[in-house]
């Protein structure tokens, strides 16, 4: 029995080898991929290099792929004068943690009943969620609802509550439950007398961890990177998040520089603004956590995504 299976595996493997890409095409493909990797990485590289260049070198030689004069002043300045970015950092971390927890709980819980074939209204609840992917009310109704009815305008809640649920992830999680949690396990739990909540918490959730981890990662990154909600709903600087803060910095500097070429008296004001390297250091601090964490979490989400995304 086992030897037969072994032979079969061998045959399949051999056929697969036979059907491999030709060596020439493989080389061409590799070259294309290497170019693509360079195109993806180079922009990030330029930012990193600019952030560790000395200000004077950056102003004289401009942006490049290698620092003309190495300096960590931008970072020491950034951390010594934490208040500019400190509040934004704090808000972003609070929003990300709270929003991620809410998102994992609400999506994980919502997707489970609609993955069960013995839940009577699963079609209805699937539709309620799926419909929001097809039809959204739009910016203006969203804005007035948050501000005038829900009252979460200009508060830290605006940074994460609207992002704490996602119909898209409900659909992915539903498929994930269906394909990873065999009905027989649920059935046997029921025969053993476990209630639905107990079945979910003790039996289903441990099996669905990769899917939930994927939801958590995407939710966290979505909230960390969110700019629009802050722009739309927040007025006061004490509630700004990171993305909005660094956007404002970039924008105000470009604007003032344009003005300064026409109005000389603005030159003094510009001297007070954060320097170019400082801004690049801010950009680095903003995307740093994501870039650093990326290699570690990517292996989880690829698994979660590929299982959840396949049509179930």
């Amino acid at each position: 029995m086992t030897s037969k299976a072994d032979i079969k595996v061998k045959v399949v493997k051999k056929n697969k080898d036979m059907n491999q890409l030709s060596a020439g095409a493989n080389v061409v493909l590799n070259i294309i991929f290497i170019l693509a990797v360079i195109i993806v990485v180079a922009p990030i590289w330029v930012i990193i290099m600019a952030s560790i260049t000395s200000e004077s070198a950056l102003l004289t030689y401009g942006y490049g792929f290698w620092p003309q004069e190495f300096s960590l002043r931008a970072y020491t300045f950034l951390f010594s004068k934490g208040s500019i970015i400190g509040t934004a950092y704090k808000n972003t971390i609070i929003a990300t943690v709270a929003g991620t927890i809410l998102c994992v709980c609400s999506v994980g819980l919502y997707a489970y009943p609609i993955s069960r074939s013995d839940f009577r209204w699963r079609g209805l609840f699937t539709f309620i969620s799926f419909f929001t992917m097809l039809f959204t009310a739009g910016t203006v109704p969203f804005f007035v609802t948050c501000r005038q009815i829900l009252g979460i305008g200009n508060s830290i809640f605006a940074l994460f509550l609207p992002l704490s649920f996602s119909a898209y992830w409900v659909i992915i999680m539903r498929t994930f439950y269906k394909s990873n949690v065999p009905d027989s396990i649920i059935e046997s739990a029921r025969i053993d007398g476990a209630g639905e909540w107990r079945t979910l918490l003790q039996i289903v959730l441990p099996l669905a961890t990769p899917g939930l981890a994927t939801v958590a990662l995407f939710a966290a990154i979505g909230i960390w990177n969110n700019f629009f909600n802050c722009l739309l709903l927040v007025d006061e600087a004490k509630y700004y998040n990171l993305q909005f803060t660094i956007y404002q910095t970039l924008n105000s500097i470009r604007f003032l520089k344009e003005m300064a070429s026409q109005v000389g008296s603005l030159a003094a004001q510009i001297a007070d603004l954060p320097s170019e390297t400082f801004r690049m250091a801010m950009a680095m601090v903003t995307m740093g956590p994501i870039i650093l964490a990326y290699p570690f979490f990517q292996k989880y989400f690829v698994k979660g995504l590929t299982i959840g995304a396949v049509k179930g």
Binding site: L29, I44, S106, A137, A167, Q298
Partner: protein, 334 residues
């Protein structure tokens, strides 16, 4: 992909409900409590804003309700009770401004280019990753190419600034080759290319995931049989992979058609850095709605512009889906 599986006859057959009894009621109460948090979020942020769409047909003015009135919320009172209907005058006003057509051209034009290029590149990427001989390298490439998806548009705005500003990388190259530096931030003609590049840069890796997931699930015997019959790699791709991939492609394109009036707000708003001369190529419907709202103009005007995104977009999805269903029922979304 969602609604469909709920409605296929196969699953309908599996639906064997037990009779309502105390156990069954208890189970369903448990199910409903699980659904509750999600329902609250859906209600607050998706369904509650929907009635406010009628703003597009109103002249909006915030008014205070009388003390004894049964609705005490200012907004609800103003919108549904106090404000007068103005018919299509908000729409007329928008379409009489010269900007309107530029905005619609930008929105639809960019989206069509993104859809077409994005489709070709992400399907190509998925197939190429799947075909590479070295699995380790394939994984490495895909990991790197996926990364930009996690980088916010604001950081991309910084990157673009580092490349196209006066001292940027591109101007270094241009001056090094003896040319004169280009003021990118006041030259609209370069920006369509920059936007398209940014979009491709950020999304191709992510879009290819779903295609990759689908095509790794294909039956390998098909390919082996084809190889034995003498079909080369190229013929296998065009005759097996692409036809099998078509339902997924169609599904994602239907969803993309529904978003044809939605632009990537963050990109079009932040990457040009608020530069005035670029408005003609960077204003899409989202940006227009936001700007109209922020200039303190009538909220009804912004809502009328937004109306397109939701209602016309939704109609487009339904129509596309209907056409697809006529042509090939299996590929329709619902």
């Amino acid at each position: 992909m969602a609604a469909k599986s709920a409605l296929t006859p196969g699953t309908a057959k599996a639906l064997k409900h037990r009779k309502w009894g105390s156990g069954e009621i208890k189970r369903h109460i448990a199910f409903l409590t699980m659904l509750l948090p999600g329902c609250i979020f859906l209600f607050c942020f998706s369904y509650l804003p929907m009635p406010a769409i009628i703003l597009a047909f109103k002249r909006y003015q915030l008014a205070k309700p009388p003390k004894d009135f049964w609705i005490q919320n200012k907004f609800i009172y103003s919108l549904f009770i106090q404000n007068e209907w103005v018919g299509l005058s908000n729409f007329k006003f928008i379409f009489n401004t010269p900007d309107a057509w530029t905005v619609i051209r930008n929105t639809i034009g960019y989206n069509l280019v993104f859809m077409a290029l994005g489709l070709v590149l992400s399907v190509g990427l998925a197939i190429a990753v799947n075909e590479l001989r070295n699995r380790f390298l394939a994984k490495f490439y895909h990991t790197v190419l996926f990364m930009p998806y996690f980088i916010s548009w604001i950081i991309v705005a910084y990157v673009v600034y580092a490349f196209v500003s006066a001292k940027g990388v591109f101007n270094q190259w241009i001056t090094a080759m003896g040319g004169t530096a280009i003021q990118f931030y006041s030259e609209p003609k370069y920006w369509p290319f920059i936007f398209v590049f940014c979009n491709i840069w950020k999304y191709t890796g992510n879009n290819s995931i779903i295609y990759l997931a689908t095509l790794t699930g294909f039956d390998q015997q098909l390919y082996e049989a084809a190889a034995i019959d003498g079909a080369g790699k190229w013929r296998q791709i065009t005759n097996i992979t692409l036809p099998l991939l078509l339902p997924t492609i169609v599904l994602l394109q239907i969803l993309a058609v529904g978003r044809i009036f939605n632009g990537d707000f963050d990109m079009f708003y932040s990457v040009p850095n608020g530069s005035g001369p670029l408005k003609s190529v960077s204003t899409t419907l989202d940006v227009y709605v936001y700007n109209t709202m922020k200039t303190g103009a009538q909220l009804g005007l912004a809502a009328a512009a937004g109306f397109f995104q939701s209602v016309v977009g939704f109609t487009l999805v339904l129509t596309t889906n209907l056409i697809v269903r006529r042509v090939s029922p299996d590929m329709a979304m619902f």
